[in-house]
């Protein structure tokens, strides 16, 4: 079981909603024995299974909180669950089709099944039209966040290998 798991969420065919999926496709680590990258699509509650066994989980998803498109949010779970619950894209819809990220993580927190460290990077989105490419603002954020996550995870893996 690899201790660090990076999970991208979103519909790759729905404009800015693709951010999480597109971001994890860009990541490339030398530490493949400690880092696992997962494209989770719209996995809903299965996300809890996907996170199981990891020490640290980094999730990337779309956020819609009426801030400037491309704004990057860093949320720590469970501390920032309420924010996530309100603003995660696709939240507020506990249905057969989609338990949103907020609901899934809230359920995991309630049941005590979340990994010790869960961080969500949310990118503020503008347009989720099916069949469209991500907007230019989101593209810029993707560039920035990719470098940030790459560095953050490199630092984590160094700590892991030194400990």
């Amino acid at each position: 079981m690899k201790p660090i798991r990076i999970i991208g969420i979103g519909n790759a065919f729905a404009g800015d909603d693709a951010v999480g999926t597109l971001l994890v496709r860009r990541l490339d680590f030398d530490h493949s024995e400690t880092v696992e990258i997962v494209e989770a699509g719209l996995s809903g509650l299965s996300l809890l299974d996907i996170m199981e066994g990891a020490e640290t989980v980094i999730l990337i998803d779309a956020i819609h909180s009426n801030q400037a498109p491309g704004t990057i949010h860093r949320l720590e779970i469970p501390r920032d669950l309420e924010i996530l619950h309100t603003h995660a894209w696709g939240s507020k819809s506990p249905s057969t089709h989609s338990f949103g990220l907020g609901e899934s993580l809230t359920l995991g927190a309630t049941l005590g099944t979340l990994p010790p460290t869960v961080v969500v990077f949310g990118i503020e989105i503008r347009d989720t039209t099916l069949g469209e490419n991500p907007s230019s603002e989101v593209h810029q954020a993707l560039d920035d966040l990719t470098i940030h996550i790459q560095n953050e995870v490199e630092a984590l893996t160094c700590m892991n290998s030194n400990s």
Binding site: N11, G41, S46, L48, P94, S95, T106, T110, L111, G112
Partner: protein, 438 residues
């Protein structure tokens, strides 16, 4: 409200827009009598029928898997059986078993999610599965572990857990090894016990929605609980082959809904777990028959809410069937058999978690789809849901519109419709009108 009820009132459950579809409920009451009940559904398969035109038959399983995130296997199964029937190919032996195993995975996953996270909260007085988890954490954990087993199986057979990619016309692109399947045995043994506990748990709920004279429609095959094949039968004498489906089940447009409504002899009918159980209980495995007897709910069941028991019995069946298949399975010599291209029309009906799913394809000799028709279970149940609501509403007319709408949502949820997203998070508007006719 009581004492101040206008002659005409409208109970509306407003539209909730979703990627997968949209649903709403509109009820008109006049002089304390229910006048109109309109369940408004917008379903995506209509668009897919057009997408499929001009595509090669080998592309169809991957395209139809995208119709639904929770029952992609059903769409793939109805598609491949319909397409294979054009060439007269009938998949047998280990490949047939693996398709059935894949369907078991989907039933386990879909049913368990509905039982634990969407439906049980209605019986136990919680607003949502999240709220229920705060009080019944261990029960919810059991449900999620059960669901995970379905997910494991689906991933193993389908190549991934969402929108599986391994199903193809003629079989699979890749099949799991016997060893990979055997690895699941321990977890499936746990699941069998958990499924029995689930049946006993839900059988203890209270069921007090009005009794109905349901026309049940399901597949029936001679030797097994139906999934991939069989005749379409009813509890009132119907017995037809899938190719005759459209002759007996015409679709009609209703002005308020994008989903066509299917009827049988002009009336509504019910498809899904309740119907399957009533028409196929004889084919349940011994353990499921025993549990059914132990819980003391004697068939027939006339309340839609009891679908939660039917669903839980089917989870037990699917787990038992998965164990049986894995224990007796031999790897197929090849993951797929050739299916020659041939012009023609093929139809198939399979049992999606929510009920029968009909596909028809007209294909040219180079394998291009000329026409596709898909009739999903939710549009078939649409009229039956309206009839249930019509008979239920008099029980709640003395309540506020908000409380009445909550009751209506529960009736709708018993069907596990693909619009349960909309029906679980309803924004309610109350409109009261004076009756100008005096």
């Amino acid at each position: 409200m009581p004492g101040n009820i206008p002659n005409t009132r409208t109970i509306k459950v407003d539209l909730v827009a979703r990627v997968e579809g949209e649903g709403a409920l509109h009820v008109t009451v006049q002089d304390n009598t229910v006048k109109d009940v309109e369940l408004r559904i917008f379903e995506p398969p209509r668009f897919f029928e057009a997408f499929l035109q001009g595509r090669h038959i080998n592309e169809v399983p991957d395209i139809v898997a995208r119709i639904c995130g929770i029952c992609p296997v059903a769409y793939q199964m109805s598609a491949v059986h319909a397409l294979e029937s054009i060439a007269g190919v009938n998949i047998k032996g280990p490949l047939r078993d693996l398709r059935r195993l894949l369907y078991c995975a989907e039933w386990i996953e879909s049913h368990t999610l509905h039982i634990y996270m969407l439906h049980a909260p209605d019986f136990l007085g919680f607003e949502s599965g999240l709220e229920m988890a705060k009080v019944h954490a261990d029960i919810v954990k059991r449900g999620l572990r059960l669901k995970k087993i379905g997910n494991h199986l689906l991933t193993l057979l389908g190549g991934r857990s969402v929108h599986p990619v391994s199903v193809k016309v003629g079989g699979f692109s890749k099949v799991p090894t016997k060893a990979e399947l055997s690895n699941l045995k321990d977890e499936l043994s746990w699941a069998r016990e958990a499924a029995i506990e689930t049946v006993k748990w839900v059988a203890g709920f209270e069921f007090n929605d009005p009794e109905q004279d349901y026309t049940f429609i399901a597949l029936r095959s001679q030797h097994e609980y139906p999934m991939n094949e069989g005749h379409v039968v009813s509890n009132k004498g119907l017995d037809i082959s899938p190719s005759e489906f459209e002759h007996h089940f015409p679709e009609a447009q209703v002005p308020y809904s994008h989903a066509l409504q299917c009827t049988l002899n002009g009336s509504s009918y019910l498809t899904g777990p309740l119907a399957r159980l009533h028409l196929n209980a004889v084919h349940l495995p011994t353990i499921a028959k025993q549990v059914l007897q132990d819980i003391g709910h004697k068939l027939p069941w006339k309340r839609g809410s009891k679908s939660i028991i039917a669903r839980s019995i089917e989870v037990l069946f699917a787990i038992e069937e998965a164990i049986r298949i894995i224990n007796s399975h031999d790897s197929p010599p090849t993951p797929a058999i050739p299916v020659p291209l041939q012009a023609g029309i093929g139809m198939a009906v399979t049992e999606a978690p929510r009920g029968i799913l009909y596909h028809r394809y007209q294909v040219s000799e180079d394998g291009t789809v000329q026409e596709a028709k898909i009739i999903p279970p939710t549009s078939q149940n649409q009229k039956r849901i309206e009839d249930d609501l019509r008979s239920f509403l008099p029980q709640v007319l003395h309540l506020s519109n908000k409380e009445a709408a909550i009751g209506c949502e529960k009736i709708i949820r018993s069907y596990d419709p693909c619009i349960s997203c909309a029906t679980h998070f309803l924004k309610l508007d109350v409109e009261r009108l004076q009756d100008h006719k005096g």
